[in-house]
């Protein structure tokens, strides 16, 4: 089974999160994820992108330069791995309410948030019921 990788690089602006959400929906569909799982992935990718976009906005507010976020999707058999990262130097701050963590954790199988590196890694496997 070969891995397939898709990369998306978009301006770090909220309106481009939609593109990442659409992309993950399309890829999840290729792997025959169910409607509920596709919704989960859209939520997860939207959330991860928002985190990075916000972090980026804080980082670039002083310099005035518009940053980008990179989203890498890796398809392996019945599994989808998504990595979202910002420009070098982007740091994800600890969140007070932790709502994002709660959401991410609920909709994918595995979440790794590397705050210092400004990177979020998500992994979700297709449920066996439709296979």
């Amino acid at each position: 089974m070969h891995d397939h990788q898709v990369r998306l690089s978009v301006p770090a602006l909220p309106q481009f999160a939609r593109l990442a959400r659409l992309t993950v929906a399309g890829l999840a569909n290729r792997l025959e994820f169910t409607y509920d799982e596709v919704e989960d992935l859209r939520i997860a990718v939207g959330e991860a992108c928002s985190l990075l976009i916000e972090a980026q906005a804080e980082t670039t507010a002083s310099s005035g330069a518009g940053g980008r976020i990179d989203v890498t999707f890796t398809l392996t058999g019945d599994e989808l791995v998504i990595e979202v990262s910002g420009e070098a130097g982007t740091v994800l701050r600890e969140q007070g309410e932790g709502l994002s963590d709660l959401i991410l954790d609920a909709v994918v199988d595995d979440v790794q948030v590397d705050r210092a590196e400004g990177r979020v890694r998500l992994r979700k496997r297709r449920s066996p019921e439709t296979a």
């Binding site: 939609r18 569909n29 994820f33 919704e39 709660l102």
Partner: protein
């Protein structure tokens, strides 16, 4: 749309009758007599992606409010009084719905259809359907289904973290969920509930946490997660059903 003098005079009397008696039959008659005004105003809002039938419905609601609030003794023409009320109702519809000018009608209609089909197919299959199954049932492509799913979020992406103002229909949703929800928050039940929560699948647990612990409304959850309120409602119903099942299971081991 202008009415004849005779008709206008007759309606003025009927408005006075209604102001005095608050008789529903008179109210309905007055609404009926002014439906053309509502339709006329609704037409101003076509080509914004909302079907004309829906617009007329919304305008009629505005008309109803105008009829109820109209005070004939002030001497104002009803149409003068009603127009801002109806237009206000239409504008609010666009704002609340979040349907933007730019979502093509085709996608919106597909969004509604997909939402309905998900419920149907989930029940039939006993599991969440695949996109392919949804597309086959809707006689469309998988891409169209995916686009329709994203349409729920399309124009809210700029305010992912801004909680939406509670929709007016929240009361209706509370009713729909039933009394159990209130009881969930009783202190003596809280411990039991949180114990039961830990056993739930993560997605279902999240919905209950957001709804009852974070105190978010269904539309706030939908906005926050970028999914349709219908999906939130479905997941909540499922979560509550699971919770109930567990609760009954623990009562009768």
């Amino acid at each position: 749309m202008s009415l004849g003098d005779e008709e206008r005079g007759r309606l003025r009397e009927r408005f006075q009758d209604y102001a005095r008696t608050r008789d529903r039959a008179i109210r309905d008659e007055l609404i009926e007599a002014h439906l053309r005004l509502a339709e006329h105003l609704a037409r101003r809002f076509v080509n914004r992606g909302v079907p004309i039938d829906d617009l007329v419905q919304v305008a009629s609601l505005g008309l109803l409010k105008a009829v109820e609030r109209f005070e004939p003794e002030r001497g104002l023409e009803f149409s003068t009084f009603a127009t801002p009320t109806i237009v206000g109702e239409l504008k609010r519809h666009f704002r609340d719905k979040g349907w933007s000018v730019r979502v093509p009608r085709r996608v919106q209609e597909m969004h509604v259809e997909v939402n309905a089909l998900v419920g149907e197919l989930t029940q039939q299959l006993g599991r969440s359907p695949t996109i392919n199954e949804l597309a086959a049932r809707a006689r469309t492509s998988e891409e169209e289904v995916l686009e329709a799913m994203e349409a729920a979020q399309a124009y809210r992406s700029t305010s992912i973290d801004a909680p939406a103002v509670a929709a007016e229909d929240e009361r209706g949703i509370a009713n729909q969920l039933g009394d159990e929800d209130v009881n969930l928050l009783d202190s003596e039940n809280r411990l039991l509930v949180s114990e039961l929560l830990t056993g739930l699948p993560k997605r279902e647990r999240l919905m209950l946490q957001l709804r009852f612990y974070e105190g978010m409304t269904q539309s706030q959850i939908a906005d926050r997660l970028g999914i349709s309120q219908m999906h939130v409602s479905r997941l909540l119903a499922k979560s509550l059903a699971m919770l109930r099942e567990r609760l009954e299971g623990s009562d009768h081991p």
